[in-house]
């Protein structure tokens, strides 16, 4: 079943995130993907995540699709103006990529090319509108395309929303986001307000795929709280990590417990480990999903 069909089916969705290689060697990408075979419904491929330069996501998605994996291509507003965004999207569709995840993108100052010019010609809401236009067979300027795109577009969100962020979320829904992949959460309680807001969208209600980040250590949890916007590892989880004999196993257990709880609360989970997918299958098995 394709990711799009899965979204429509109402089945619980599992996605997992891989960064493209920092170089031309395809092996690490394929090895990581192999860990997700039969585990994830689709593999998210990041777009110079944290502004660290890597292989283009459309190329990495294409490599995976050629090897039988369905992908969700991330596309940020950071590196491309409206011409480049459109040609990238046309190319991606031409290579068989059907799912995209639209986001603003971390600023270049956060990455390994600090002096790069930040583009942000469009923002994420405007990019979603542009995708809708390409899907209808026209480009940004209204020129007719020889073959329209056929994307299922999603967007990202934090689960704790202030007034302005909630308005932006609603704009994304209006502009055609059919699913949301959220920032990582660590306790299910924090989700109910967010789901209530999503439910207000009525018939246009997008699917909610909640971010899961298995913790590796107490230090890892503290780092996330200090440095990553939208992440809040609660004190009780930090305490569990601190007191654990084997913190990595504890992190797996915490993630599995959370996934089990989320099955009845949202439409799917998105696994984004700090390092690799060594434990992703295990987490999902422990949660009773795979």
């Amino acid at each position: 079943m394709s990711f799009r069909d899965k979204l429509l089916s109402g089945d619980f969705i599992v996605t997992a995130e891989i960064s493209p290689p920092k170089g031309t060697d395809k092996k690490p990408l394929l090895n990581e993907a192999a860990r997700l075979k039969g585990v994830a419904d689709a593999i998210n491929i990041t777009d110079n995540q944290r502004a660290i330069m890597r292989m283009s996501p459309s190329a990495a998605c294409s490599i995976l699709q050629d090897n039988g994996y369905e992908t969700i291509m991330h596309i940020t507003c950071r590196d491309r103006n409206r011409l480049s965004l459109q040609s990238e999207l046309l190319g991606a569709c031409g290579m068989g990529i059907r799912n995209i995840l639209v986001m603003t993108g971390d600023h270049p100052s956060k990455g390994d090319h600090e002096g790069a010019k930040p583009v942000y010609d469009l923002d994420s809401v405007q990019l979603l509108e542009l995708v809708r236009k390409l899907n209808s067979g026209y480009d940004f300027s209204g020129n007719r395309l020889e073959g329209r795109t056929d994307f299922t577009a999603g967007a990202v969100s934090n689960t704790r929303l202030d007034y302005v962020s909630l308005i932006k979320l609603k704009k994304k829904i209006k502009s055609g986001a059919s699913f949301f992949q959220t920032q990582a959460i660590f306790e299910a309680d924090s989700l109910s307000d967010f789901i209530d807001k999503i439910d207000e969208a009525g018939p246009k209600r997008p699917k909610v795929i909640v971010g899961i980040m298995p913790l590796r250590s107490e230090k890892n949890a503290l780092f996330l709280n200090k440095n990553i916007a939208g992440i809040k590892v609660p004190d009780k989880i930090i305490k569990r990590m601190r007191e654990a004999n084997d913190p990595a196993s504890e992190g797996i257990e915490i993630a599995a417990d959370l996934v089990r709880e989320l099955k009845s609360l949202c439409d799917g989970v998105h696994i984004m480990p700090v390092k690799d997918h060594e434990n992703t299958k295990k987490i999902l098995e422990m949660a009773g999903i795979r």
Partner: protein, 207 residues
């Protein structure tokens, strides 16, 4: 007001190939910001003399970006005739106007940062993004192009931590926009979908 800062002196010296230099300061923004007024010009003269440059003269003209004619500048500053190069302590606008008229090599001593202003004796930077399509009325008078590090028009990026911009050491521009619109009872403006900027409006095409 154009916000500028002084270049590192060694960076100025590195490029300054000529020996006989005339220094031009600017009586407007650069003076107010204490980067190109009389005290700074005198300080620059002192440093250049120490570095074995010959300063043939200096003047703080009323406005480097607004001159009547080069002939007038020359008649008021005959020492320029003895100079091999000019060192201009003004914003990029002033440097360009001067170097467009002068027929000798011209060097900038400042780096131009942004378009800002002063309020209650405090310098405020990055008040305008020079987009050529001012929509600040929708944002409580706060320019999203310059005050948001990503120039986002439809809402924040979500990257701020405890109200602090993820890029710069300053508050999230979108928090400021929200607070101001709330105060003005105009929060409904936040709900408007704002289309991408038309970059033909920023004036560059008229050069």
């Amino acid at each position: 007001m154009i916000i500028s800062r002084q270049k590192e002196f060694n960076d100025i010296l590195k490029n300054l190939a000529e020996n006989d230099i005339f220094i031009i300061g600017c009586g407007k923004c650069a003076s107010k910001l204490h980067v190109g007024g009389e005290p700074e010009v005198l300080e620059m003269e002192k440093k250049l003399l120490t570095s074995k440059k010959n300063i043939v003269g200096w003047n703080v003209i009323s406005s480097a970006c607004n001159i009547k004619s080069w002939e007038e500048i020359l008649s008021q500053n005959p020492a320029i005739g003895k100079a091999q190069a000019l060192l201009v302590m003004s914003c990029g606008g002033g440097v360009s106007v001067i170097s467009g008229c002068a027929e000798i090599q011209t060097y900038p001593a400042l780096d131009t940062e942004s378009l800002g202003g002063t309020c209650c004796e405090e310098t405020v930077k990055e008040q305008c993004g020079l987009c050529g399509d001012c929509v600040t009325w929708m944002y409580g008078g706060i320019c999203p192009v310059s005050r948001c590090a990503k120039s986002l028009l439809n809402g924040p990026c979500g990257g701020a931590i405890e109200g602090k911009c993820e890029v710069y050491d300053r508050p999230c521009g979108w928090d400021l926009i929200y607070e101001k619109l709330k105060k003005l009872k105009k929060l409904e403006y936040l709900e408007v979908f704002v289309a991408p900027k038309d970059h033909t409006r920023n004036g560059r095409r008229t050069i």
